[in-house]
């Protein structure tokens, strides 16, 4: 049972975090994600990298929060990150919906004005 080489997961975690950060970086560079929406992704990517480099951080955080099993602290941070990013999306979507509604209304009103003017000039 206890024959796991715990160093192994650390290497995977470091590699995973770096690949993740590079992936986000490329997406931003290629303008697939706007800078302002990449901040949360990059922030949590860096946190994961730090945690994988210094495992003590996770253990100390678990002690501080009273978590018996340190990986749970990791999952807690992960869920927190996902929540924050999803909330950000809800805000962005609500904002877009409002702006879309305003645009559709404005186009409708303007089209009517244009038609009215065309009729007058005929």
């Amino acid at each position: 049972m206890n024959n796991y080489n715990t160093d192994k997961i650390q290497y995977f975690a470091i590699a995973g975090s770096i690949i993740f950060l590079i992936f986000i970086f490329i997406l931003v560079r290629n303008k697939k994600i706007k800078e302002e929406y990449s901040i949360l992704w990059l922030f949590f990517g860096i946190i994961f990298l730090l945690i994988s480099l210094w495992r003590d951080v996770l253990i100390q955080l678990s002690n501080f929060l009273g978590i018996a099993y340190p990986p749970v602290a990791f999952i807690l941070i992960l869920i927190l990150g996902i929540f924050l990013i999803l909330i950000q999306y809800s805000i962005v979507i609500s904002n877009l919906k409002e702006k879309n509604k305003d645009l559709v209304q404005r186009i409708g009103l303007m089209e009517h004005e244009i038609k009215k003017k065309e009729k007058h000039s005929d």
């Binding site: 409002e98 879309n100 509604k101 559709v104 209304q105 186009i107 409708g108 009103l109 089209e111 009517h112």
Partner: protein, 240 residues
């Protein structure tokens, strides 16, 4: 006195001409504004075939709230004194409109709601499940604004200039009818109800049906409570 009848229409090709006819017959002086919320049927062509109505076409479907708000914006831009909201599905009756106009013309209030439940009459009163929901809105809204509004979901309403300018900026778009009752009342607009009769819709389907009723009720209650805890809006900056 310039009066605009705002008629939101979504897939109402079978009803809309009758609606225009009845409004026109009732009073040819009224301007009728049909707002087509990107219908998938022939509503737009049917409306444009008659010259008795002004037609605004929305290029994307934005829902009843945004559609009616387009009407308020039109009314504000063209300096109308009164706007009447009148459904495009034929359930509202044109000769009931003067009843809604009277309190506004005589300066008794800012908003008039045509209510099916104010006086017990034989007209159409919706299905049993919906009446239950309507009762709950009645109770909640009455507690929140300290005034008993019997028909919070009625879309048969009249607004004076002040109220329509206010709503052209901040009309709620999710569940506009019950939400706007709270919004208007909280911001100091005086609401009055008059008893009106309504018909069952003749053609087409209502926008809310079946199981959606329950979800609708929960969503509306949430929206109502949110509206009631929002700070009052200053006229100049009420655009979210």
């Amino acid at each position: 006195m310039k009066i605009l009848i705002i008629v939101p229409a979504f897939n109402e090709e079978k009803n809309i001409l009758k609606v225009i006819d009845s409004l026109n017959k009732q009073n040819p002086e009224w301007n009728i504004l049909i707002i087509n919320d990107c219908s998938e049927d022939n509503t737009l062509n049917v409306c444009e075939s008659t010259d008795r109505a002004i037609v605004i076409n929305l290029c994307s479907n934005i829902g009843i709230g945004g559609t009616v708000q387009t009407g308020f914006r039109f009314a504000q831009n063209n300096d109308y004194d009164i706007a009447v909201q009148f459904d495009g599905d034929g359930q509202h009756i044109a000769n009931e409109i003067p009843k809604l106009l009277e309190p506004i013309i005589n300066n008794k209030c800012d908003v008039v709601i045509g209510s099916r439940f104010l006086i017990n009459h034989k007209g159409y009163k919706s299905t049993k499940i919906r009446r239950f929901g309507i009762k709950i809105f009645q109770l909640v809204n009455s507690i929140l604004i300290n005034q008993k509004i019997t028909d919070n979901t009625s879309g048969f309403r009249a607004y004076n200039k002040k109220a329509l300018h206010f709503l052209s900026d901040c009309y709620p778009t999710d569940y506009p009818e019950p939400e706007s009752v709270i919004l208007l009342s909280k911001n100091g607009y005086k609401i009055l109800e008059v008893s009106t009769v309504m018909k069952e819709r003749e053609e087409g389907k209502s926008s809310i049906s079946g199981f959606k009723n329950f979800a609708y009720m929960i969503n509306v209650l949430l929206a109502i409570i949110m509206n009631s805890i929002r700070p009052t809006i200053k006229q100049e900056n009420c655009n979210e």
